[in-house]
Symmetry: C2
Subunit: 216 residues, 2 copies
DNA sequence: GTAATAGTGTCTTTCAGACAGTATTCA
DNA sequence: TGAATACTGTCTGAAAGACACTATTAC
């Protein structure tokens, strides 16, 4: 049997890069002829989707070295005026301090506060869902903080991701087993120095952590 | 800007249809020249992925009317000897009683007990993950039982999906608010007649239900 | 009656969440 | 010393999970 004789779609990738700035989730955007949009590109021959996503991010936003997760294929035949284009939405996360000078749009309870081109606002909503799921399962799985961080920094990150204040003592008990303490401390806060922690690889958070993060 | 001048991949869909038979999750398979595989097809021009999935299932397995969820795009350039073929894996669920005469393969803790063609075994593993996530969020969201069902039937279904015995009283308290009782009962079990329930649309299960289903 | 299954009241243990206490730094 | 922040012991209320009891059918 020969390969499909049907016309083939163009396949693209778009990437929602999420970061936290000013205690708020934000998404990286680029300016294009179609307006403010997510970084994206067409898939090259023989290329894998995640490699196309990395190439788009490197070329259009100067960002490298991130992990990508698929969040959904957008396949409305009329989603792009230029023709039949399927696009795989991806999500990645990065520490704000590692970001070059790029456009950022804050997210209000998971949705962009301004409209993005194409169906990119829907992509961002799915990206936030996926990020929240992964942050419910593990402690800081995507390096949105630096190499080491205090529990206060971690809690502020989770409060931004889940758009919700979290009690510090319960939060600590939920995440502490997913972390390893370095012996070091930092006194950047002004008061008693806080211990610095790293993520414990492959450690799962307790099943009840999701209930705390997502609220009642 | 003209549309991409790059060569385009063929795009296909494959569907993991899950059902429960003999207290075990099973997946629908078809025989092809490549061996035992998931039902699939190439995407037609202008067609949406979910419509291609429905067409594949209707044509190759005689199954209609299901809901499909994307679980991931498989994009290894060498995954199909015939050429460059991307395939979107889908998941759907169906009551065993609604199945026509098709091939079924039982799943051992989420994985097929025999190898499937291509990367279809990986697709099934992702499909089971997705099914478990959706059954953790809502009570019986995919109609794997009939229109109405008893709590015993529902619990047996969840035990098969999560491959784990569940205590009947705690299970009841977790799911009861996601159901609506019909006034009717059935005495098919032999003992005291059991009330028949339906799914309450849009009702979310408590956050702690996932902890019960997935276990320690 | 017995057997079988459905459904529920209750007890205990556990833990989320709140509160307040102690600990350690800087000014 | 006081202010600020980090961390932790303890209390309470709620609920998971276990257990047993009652309820309703068939035989």
């Amino acid at each position: 049997m020969a390969l499909s004789d049907f016309p083939r779609p163009s396949v693209a990738v778009d990437v929602a890069v999420l970061t936290v700035c000013d205690d708020t989730l934000q998404v990286v955007t680029v300016e294009s002829q179609f307006g403010t949009a997510l970084p994206g590109t067409f898939l090259h021959e023989g290329e894998r989707l995640r490699d196309a996503a990395a190439r788009a991010l490197s070329t259009k936003a100067g960002i490298d070295g991130l992990d990508f997760h698929q969040v959904g294929m957008f396949d409305d035949p009329r989603r792009d005026d230029r023709g039949w284009v399927l696009s795989m939405a991806h999500v990645a996360a990065i520490a704000y301090e590692s970001l070059p000078d790029v456009g950022l749009i804050p997210l209000e309870s998971g949705f962009p506060t301004v409209g993005l081109a194409f169906d990119h606002s829907q992509m961002v909503a799915l990206a936030v869902d996926d990020l929240r799921r992964r942050y419910s399962d593990q402690a800081e799985p995507s390096s949105m903080l630096g190499e080491a961080f205090t529990l206060l920094e971690l809690r502020r990150l989770y409060e931004a991701i889940f758009d919700r204040e979290l009690p510090k003592d319960t939060f600590r008990r939920q995440v502490i087993d997913g972390l390893v303490g370095t012996g070091e401390t930092t006194s950047a806060g002004g008061g008693r120095p806080a211990e610095l922690y790293r993520r414990k690889p492959d450690a799962q958070l307790p099943r009840t952590a999701a209930a705390l993060f997502r609220g009642p």
